[in-house]
Structure formats: C-alpha cells, structure tokens
Symmetry: C2
Subunit: 215 residues, 2 copies
C-alpha cells in the first residue's frame, strides 16, 4: 500500500501526468461595503484553512488613500506550499456582497474563476455563470438579523469552492465569535451551506434543461 | 508662501538633499500568543493608518502548518506609495507580547529597529535597547481586565513610533470595538499613551545619567 501511494505522488509530479494534482495556490477575494464584516470573514476563513486544515495561508487587507470610500476587501491565499506573494494576483474566487465591489473586481477574476454574489444587493450580474445567493435576505429571514450575512456567505463559499473543510470552518467560526452567539452563528453557517446546496441543484437542473433542449 | 512650500517639496526630491524626507515604507510586526488580540490590534492599526491617516497600508496574517503552536503574528506595512510587497521583510518595529515571540522574531528586526515588549511576560530581553512596558499588568491594574492589553500596547506603540496619529488610532479603535466598551477602550489607549511617555522619560533620564557619568 505504501509503495502504491509513493508511486502516485511521484507520478503526479511528472510533467505530462494526467493525474489530477492538488491545487497549489488558491486565491479568494471577499468584497463588499464597510459594514458587512468581510475582514472578519477573511480572518475566519484564514484560520479555518491555516490552523484547522493545516495549510499555508496569508490573509491580507489593503487600504489606500481612497479607503474612506466604503468598499471593503479582504483577501485569503491558501496554498500547499509556503506563500511567497500574499496578495491575490488573479482571484480564483470572488465574493461580491454589493454591486460596487462586483463591478470593481469582476475583471480581476481568473478566467474560469468563480463569482459568488449576494443577490440581495447585486442586481446586475457581469456573467451568466455567477452564483447568486441572497445572503443578506437569508440572514434577515432565517436569523432575524442582517449582520449574520457574512457567516452565511462563508458557509456557502466553503461548499461551492471546497477551499476549506466544513468542520474546520465551523471550528474557526466558534473560536472567533463573541461568547453567547454560538447558536446564532451555527445557524448562519447551516443556512449558508443549505443555500449553496440549493444553488448547485438549480444549476444542475438548468444545465440538464439546456442539454435536453439542445437535442 | 505657496512658492516656498513648492520649493521645499522639489528640494526634498533631489538625490543629495539633506532635508528629512518622509519614510516611504514602515513595517510593523505584532506578535504574541493566540489569545492576546494581536490580529485585532493589527486591523485597528491598519485602519488607523489607511482609513484615517489616508496612507497606503497592507495588513497580513500568515499561518503555516505549525499554526496550532500558539504564537500569533500580525503585520502592518504603512507606506506613502502603493505597496508592492505586503509582508514585513525587515520590521522597523517589533511588538512582542510574550517571550516565545520575542525570541522567535527579534533577529528579523531591521538594524536600529524598535523592539517593544510586554514586560509582564518577556523577562529576558535580547537587547538593552528594548522598550519594556508591562502592558498586561497595566491592563489588569488600571482597567481590571487583562484583555485590554492589546489596546494599551497600541497606544504606546503609536507614541513611540509615530507610525499613526493618536487621533486616527482613537477613531479606528472606536469604529472596531463592540458597542458599550468605548470607555474601557479609551482608558486602555490613555494608559498606553501614559506608559510610553513614562518609558521615554525614564530612557531620557538614563541617557542623561550615562552621559554625565562618561564625563
């Protein structure tokens, strides 16, 4: 058995190997308005991947002289190797929690990258491939407070990207939140996971429909 | 008057000008154990410099597979220009809130850089030039809670380094803390500012003493 797995590892390093290699570097940008808790979400995501999943992670916030403008941006780079450059160069995943950040950052996305938007606020989608989930409306309706929307979004993002494991995400959320809000935040995560499952189901149905209408 | 100030600006750009030019890039590393609130402190510092002082700022946390070990590190790079590389290469300032982080990071410090330690926990100083202030003891004695030590340290750091203005630091603290803790955090900042003033005074007295004993 051991020989087998060694072989696999060696094979996967061959330049013309067809085996799927683990993705070395995955770049995530979380964006929205100042009050939407995206820096906090970035830290949770980074701790989930770094402390609980045991990978290399850099989490960055950048501010320029224009920072009073009200858009907020947090970046998380996850890698299986030590990270040399900690900022997102071409994000693999963009979460846009408002229209302004969606407009500002969509064109930075890597070709084939994933765009997830909060459809409560993002009404004009720059691509039909965007995954639109009303995180803020879900937080309002299922949790009674809009301020859980960032945690709802994290739950969905974990399901849709696989960038962090759900158990690590839960552990990181529980370690960072204020005491007494565990139930609220667990519900927020669950609502996010459910919303992503629904989005994936709808997408699959749509693709099936499109496939059958092609014939 | 306008011509005067224009001249000054132009002069300061001449390669052999003796005028003091603003420091372009200033790197700060905040380090300690996991529960000391250093990531939160890093975010506050970054927002103070970026949003309120209007400078370019990058704030980074890095985690590796060793991240469960319990040391925590947050970095803030402040610049007058857009920041190309957001991690601290050779910190100008190291805040070490425990012995382990002091030992681990002291040798990264830029020659002539500033080391500030929490002398509640750092008992072995790697240099006589370290500025030792008992942030945690101050928080316990003046605020009744050790958990304000990170804000006490920020107040001191701002005075000692001049990296952010005190008014911007206060604004950033007030914007990030939980509602209802304004008084506690304002007191923490004031205690930190006072502790830094005392440290500077003691240092000046010591230097005077050393000077006079040289003669």
């Amino acid at each position: 058995m051991e020989t087998d797995s060694k072989l696999k590892t060696e094979n996967s390093k061959l330049p013309n190997s067809k085996l799927k290699t683990p993705q070395l570097r995955y770049e995530i940008r979380l964006s929205g308005s100042g009050g939407q808790g995206l820096i906090f979400a970035g830290i949770i995501l980074a701790e989930a991947a770094g402390i609980y999943d045991g990978r290399y992670v850099c989490q960055t916030q950048s501010y320029g002289p224009e920072a009073r403008g009200g858009t907020s941006k947090a970046e998380v780079v996850i890698s299986d190797e030590e990270i040399d450059y900690p900022k997102a160069i071409k994000p693999d995943l963009l979460l846009a929690m408002n229209q302004k950040s969606c407009d500002a950052y969509f064109f930075d996305l890597k070709p084939g990258g994933m765009l997830i938007v909060d459809s409560t606020f993002v009404k004009q989608l720059p691509t039909t491939k965007a995954i639109a989930i009303p995180f803020t409306r879900i937080a309002r309706e299922k949790l009674g407070k809009e301020m859980g929307a960032n945690i709802v979004a994290l739950g969905a993002l974990a399901v849709l990207s696989g960038a962090v494991s759900l158990s690590s995400l839960e552990a990181a959320v529980m370690s960072k939140i204020a005491g007494g809000t565990e139930d609220f935040n667990r519900k927020a995560l669950e609502a996010g996971i459910e919303s992503a499952m629904n989005a994936l189901k709808m997408k699959a149905e749509l693709e099936n429909y499109e496939d059958s209408s092609d014939q």
